[in-house]
Amino acid sequence: MIVRILSEGQFRVDDAAATELNHLDSQLETAVEHNDEPAFKAALTGLLAQVRAQGSPLPSDTLEASDLILPHQDSSMDEVRRLLTDEGLIPG
């Protein structure tokens, strides 16, 4: 599957890594729901590290949509919340 880390690029990640990613992802989601900043930072950092470690970067000239998209490293919780709403952060 293809995973994009926003403002970093796309990675091809083996499907086998999905379980681990989903686990970290649900931690991230819980942290956002509970407004828990430290847990949010930890989960996001862990998730991004996992994608970078497991995945291989896609060449710049590929035109494939990603299966999963992750907030960028320095995202605030507020930014992530807005990202989740339809008319939130994405311009255009």
């Binding site: 994009r4 403002s7 690029g9 035109l63 494939e64 949509a65 990603s66 992750l70 989740l84």
Partner: protein
């Protein structure tokens, strides 16, 4: 559903909405390509803007650094002259300048980070736009409108995801730049106010006092030197008829004697004083005429 999936669905929804608007799918290709080129221009401008902002911060950091060094020097001099009060004042300002500097360093690093990210983003987008253009031509040449649909959708959602990502990155960089500029403006004002002491500025009271003290000790040194010179030449003077008062005024003029005075440069106003008054307006420095009269 986790965060990752939801975000990707938001991106896909956005792309689909744009696709749905187009009647002929192949129109989408040209329209999208135009938007891509516009975005590329915007990213490049964004990189330039961040760079400009970064340079401004760099300039301020240099100023603050010079200022801190200068204040430190002043404190050392003041202490050497036994003026702890002045030294304390200089060090207080130095610490304030240093605080601003540390703050700026953090923000400078952030701007640098944004600049790098945007540069990479612009390169990546360029590569994708090139790929899209090739794909677009292939699709147009090979497929009928109906056949082209799937392929167009693929290319379109791939590029539109990238464009969304880059668009957000530009937005972030713009926000950071705006914050930085507001901050830079505030520091400029602070420096102009003299609260941090103006580098090479108009008013610098610590330097003024030090100069005064330095000047008065220079005067003392010169007096001592002149007395020595007079003492050395007294035998000749004694032979002449001049009284005490006369001798004094000659000594004062002796300060301008050309040969022995290489180290001490008297301030300009002292020089005309030694010349006959009638020489002033005609021969010497016409621009000063207005001032003099």
């Amino acid at each position: 559903m986790g965060v990752m999936k939801r975000v990707s669905l938001v991106f896909k929804a956005k792309a689909n909405k744009a696709l749905d608007k187009m009647e002929d799918p192949r129109e989408t290709l040209d329209y999208s390509y135009q938007r891509q080129l516009e975005l590329l221009t915007k990213v490049r401008r964004g990189v330039a803007d961040v760079a400009t902002s970064r340079k401004r911060v760099e300039l301020q950091m240099n100023q603050l650094h010079q200022q801190a060094t200068k204040l430190d020097d002043q404190a050392r001099k003041a202490l050497g002259l036994g003026r702890e009060d002045l030294a304390r004042d200089a060090l207080t300002r130095k610490s304030s300048a240093q605080g601003q500097l540390n703050d700026l360093q953090v923000q400078y690093a952030q701007l640098q980070g944004e600049e790098e990210k945007l540069t990479v983003a612009s390169q990546r987008l360029q590569a994708k736009v090139d790929a899209f253009r090739t794909r677009k031509e292939t699709i147009k040449a090979t497929y009928t409108a109906a056949e082209a649909q799937t392929r167009i959708n693929e290319a379109f959602s791939g590029i539109s995801e990238e464009m969304g990502d880059v668009g957000m990155a530009i937005q972030r960089a713009e926000d950071k730049t705006a914050q930085m500029q507001a901050r830079a403006g505030a520091i400029d004002e602070l420096m102009a106010s003299g609260a941090l002491d103006d580098v090479g500025g108009k008013r610098d009271d610590i330097q003024f006092e030090l100069d005064q003290m330095g000047a008065s000790s220079d005067v003392e040194n010169d007096l001592r030197r002149l007395r020595g010179e007079i003492a050395a030449s007294t035998p000749k003077q004694l032979e002449g008829s001049g009284g005490g008062a006369n001798g004094d005024s000659q000594a004062a003029r002796g300060g301008q004697a050309p040969q022995s005075q290489t180290q001490y440069a008297p301030p300009p106003p002292a020089q005309p004083a030694g010349l006959p008054v009638s020489d002033l307006p005609s021969a010497n420095e016409p621009p000063q005429d207005g001032e003099g009269s």
